[in-house]
Structures are given as C-alpha cells and as structure tokens.
C-alpha cells in the first residue's frame, strides 16, 4: 500500500504527535496505484480519488474563516495543485464549509458543485454548475453517483436565516465503480440517521467523520460529534474504514490543541477499532484501496 506519511492508530508515534504542523511535502494529490485515496487538506476538506474521478469536500482553502478566525494549520495542498474536480460537495452553509473565497480559487477546475436543500442561495453566481440535492436524492453522471444522506446539524449562515433554512445541511455518499465513500460534513451524533444510511449503503468502504469540537459538551453535543460518538457512527454506518476530520484547523469550542486527535486514538484502541481508523495529518494522503497489481 502506498501511503504518504500517514499514521495508523496502532503506531507508537501517535502519543507524541504535534497537533499543528506544516503540511508534508509530497508529489501532489495523485496516489500511484490507487483505486480509492484521500488527501486531507484540513478541516472538512478532503480530496477523494475514486479511480479516475476526483471529489473535493467542503473546500476551505483560505487563511481565515470569515475574517473572524485565522486557521492554525496551513492548507494541506496548494489550490493550484488540485486536479480537475468532477464534484465538489458542500455539507452546509457555515463559512468554514462554504467558503466563497475558496471556491473562487478553484472555480475553473470545478465541473459541478452540490449543496443541500436550500443552499443555492449562498453559492453566488459561479461559472460552474451548482445544484441542490435533497435528502435521499441522487445525481448520477458517467457512473459517478452522489446521494444526499441525512445528518444532524444546523442550516443557515448568519443566524437569523436558520429560521427558514431548516434543511440546509447534509451528508453525502459517493459511489463509483463499486467504491463508496460517506462524507459526514459536520454533524451531531444521530444513530437513526447513520443506520438509515447503512440500510441503503451497506458496503461503505470509507467514512469521513467529524470528531470535534467537543467542548463545552452540553452545547456541542447538539451540533458536533466527539471522537467516541464518531466511533459509534462508524459502527452504525458499518464502513470498513474511518478517516477523522474537522479538527486541528480552527480553534473551536474550548478543546485543547490536539485533544480530539489524542482522544480518538485512545478510544479507538480501547474499543478495539484501531484497525478501522486512519488518523491523517493535514496534507497527508491515504491510499484506502490500492489498485490490483
């Protein structure tokens, strides 16, 4: 398996991992000999390669989140090095997930962008095709099938608009050539949602799941999974492998730097799930399914 500097949870190096770091230098997004690979660019931005298709999730490629907060880890890959993207998935409207400056940087590379129901109003008029996917609806083109699946979060972008944007958040399942990937976006733990997704997608190869912010838990519980809940979600979904995201990029909640990463490692070991969890660093790439030799 061709792995570019990834850390599997069984590695003894995890305990000494530095939470914030410069992305490693590598040869770009293309993983040789790969059917399914993932490169983490930070936060919820994952570059997914499925055979000859490229999908980017929640592109957050700028230095600040809404002029309010500067990211603490640089972007894992320069936007100029991204390949042509068959699909860009937006999970919800918050500025760290729908970053218009990031979309400007990749506008010419994007073939099609997907947003949850009601989300088109905040995409503005980019050159690429953009369309909404309601929960359980699919879009298919050239064998690439994208389905919106339920998650538990909040719609709106500015607060007041949450009153009418009550459905503008989603997860996605991406299928291509028999491969399938779940992208959780940003979600609280909702067993029913995950189990319903598993009914329709019983053979997920990979789940991309958020694990932070965690604290203060009484508040965050309604919006965000913590590492333990993410492992529950992994079990509910029945995915073969999980790659965590949505941590170590922005200061969120009252989490200590690196806390979510370390907690996930500990809990995965305690629950005997280490072999199903790949903990990447920002800028690292994982070949999830290698090409047959």
């Amino acid at each position: 398996m061709a792995v570019a500097g990834c850390t599997r949870l069984g590695s003894p190096s995890i305990a000494t991992a530095q939470p914030f770091f410069e992305p490693p230098a590598h040869d770009g997004p293309v993983a040789a000999g790969s059917r399914l690979s993932v490169l983490w660019l930070g936060h919820a931005t994952m570059l997914i390669q499925m055979d000859d298709k490229w999908i980017l999730t929640d592109p957050f490629l700028v230095d600040t989140m809404g002029q309010i907060q500067r990211r603490v880890s640089p972007v894992g890959l320069d936007a100029k090095r991204l390949p042509a993207l068959d699909a860009v998935l937006i999970s919800h409207m918050h500025p760290d997930h729908l970053s218009l400056g990031s979309l400007e940087r990749i506008e010419r590379k994007v073939r099609r962008l997907f947003v949850p129901e009601g989300g088109l109003v905040y995409v503005t008029d980019f050159a690429f095709d953009a369309r909404e996917l309601r929960t359980w609806r699919s879009f298919e083109e050239s064998g690439l099938r994208i389905t919106a699946v339920p998650v538990d979060h909040v719609g709106g972008r500015y607060g007041i608009d949450s009153a009418w944007m009550t459905k503008s958040f989603t997860g996605y399942v991406v299928e291509y050539h028999g491969l399938s990937v779940f992208f959780g976006g940003d979600t609280a733990y909702d067993r029913r949602d995950f189990q319903r997704t598993r009914v329709l997608f019983p053979h997920l190869d990979l789940a991309l799941l958020p694990i932070a912010p965690m604290h203060p838990r009484a508040h965050m519980r309604t919006l965000h999974m913590d590492p333990d809940e993410a492992l529950d979600a992994l079990s509910d979904l029945g995915a073969r492998t999980m790659i965590p995201m949505h941590f170590d990029t922005l200061v969120a909640g009252t989490d200590a730097p690196g806390e979510a990463r370390e907690l996930l490692a500990l809990q995965a070991r305690a629950r005997g799930m280490s072999d199903r969890v790949d903990l990447l660093r920002i800028g690292e790439r994982r070949v999830v399914i290698p090409a047959p030799k």
């Binding site: 109003v121 503005t124 008029d125 083109e141 009418w164």
Partner: protein
C-alpha cells in the same frame, strides 16, 4: 456523456421538476417578483427559493441604529440612522434563483452585488423639540463585491433625496463593508449646504 438526475427509485428528477417556490413571508414579494418576470428556476433539477420571513430576531436587528456624525454650518452633530430596504435586485445571487427581495435581504444576497431602494430615517440631536431632529431619506444604492464575493469586502455607491427640517436636497454616498456586510463605513455628502451636509456613518447592519 450521459447525465441524469435521479432519486433513489431511479426516477429522473425532471419528472418531479415542478419548481418549488416557497411562500414568502411578505406576500408582496411574490407578487412583485412574478410581475417583474423574475426567473424562479430552470433546468431539470430542483432549486429551493429561500422562504425568507420576518422573525423576532430580524425585527430587533432592524431596530438597531447605526451611529453617525454630521457636519454642516460649522457644527458637528451626533446622529443615528436606521436603514430599510423596500426592494432589492441582486445580480450576485445564483442565476437560477429569484434576484428580488422585499424588506428581508440575506447579507450575501446584498453584498455579492445588488441594487437597492432604501429608506433611512435619521435622527440628529438638534433643535428645541424632538421632531426637529429627524431627517427622512430615500434613495438608491448599488453594492459591488470586492473580496470573497462581498463576504470579506464590498463597496457601495448611492444617491438619495432627503427632507430635513423642512428643507429638501440631494445627497451622494460611498461605502465600504466587511464581516459579511455587517460592519461598514459610509460617507454621505450633499451639494447643498445645511446642518447635515457631510455625514460619516458607522454602518451596522445585520440582515
């Protein structure tokens, strides 16, 4: 290349493509949009018009004034400005959605490029009675996105007419806005001399 939108039953979405157009909070918006031929949607998939509607929080946000300083007749005066948008046309909003808004305007719909009619009651500390301090202004303003589609920085140009203490006049204005358009600065200038010939406004507007 084959391209089709389907639901989980495999039914092409164009079968379901009666374009939803949610009821607006302000019925006039619907009537006006339709009468102006606003595009609601096109294509073979679904789009959702935002069902914008007034809420208590929105109402409170409208009541919050923007502080300003007026200069005229060699005197500085402190004032407050409220801003209402009876009608807005957005040229930044996605091409498949209605560009019209009445009263309730999402920040990005405004800051990503728009033309709005506005009404601005302003109050300056002036004169012997409370009613002497009111300035009534109506005008047109265009917003231009500069950075991150206007989320990070946008500018505006506008013109208005006003009535202040029984004297009418015209004004011109420029503005710049950051933080999703919530915070901005505006300079309003009137060719005709008077107690509010030049006004500097710290524009605070949330929706």
């Amino acid at each position: 290349m084959c391209s089709s939108a389907v639901d989980l039953t495999g039914t092409p979405l164009f079968v379901h493509s009666l374009v939803p157009f949610h009821h607006r909070g302000v019925a006039a918006a619907v009537a006006l949009s339709l009468s102006l031929g606003a595009p609601v949607a096109r294509g073979d998939d679904e789009v959702t018009e935002p069902a914008v509607r007034p809420t208590a929080l929105w109402l409170v946000a409208q009541l919050a004034p923007s502080p300003e300083i007026a200069y005229g007749n060699t005197v500085f005066r402190f004032g407050l400005r409220w801003q209402l948008t009876p009608l807005l046309y957005s040229f930044g909003i996605h091409r498949r959605l209605s560009p019209w808004r009445v009263a309730i305007v999402e920040p990005l719909v405004r800051q990503s490029g728009s033309v709005e009619l506005f009404l601005s009651p302003e109050y300056f500390v002036r004169g012997p009675t409370f009613w002497d301090g009111w300035l009534w202004r109506a005008g047109v303003r265009t917003y231009l996105p500069l950075i991150e589609r206007g989320d990070y920085l946008s500018a505006s140009l506008g013109a208005s007419c006003y009535d202040f203490a029984g004297r009418a006049g015209a004004s011109f204005e420029i503005g710049a806005y950051v933080l999703f358009g919530i915070v901005g600065a505006q300079i309003t200038w009137s060719p005709r001399s008077g107690p509010a010939q030049t006004i500097a406004t710290l524009r605070l507007r949330y929706f």
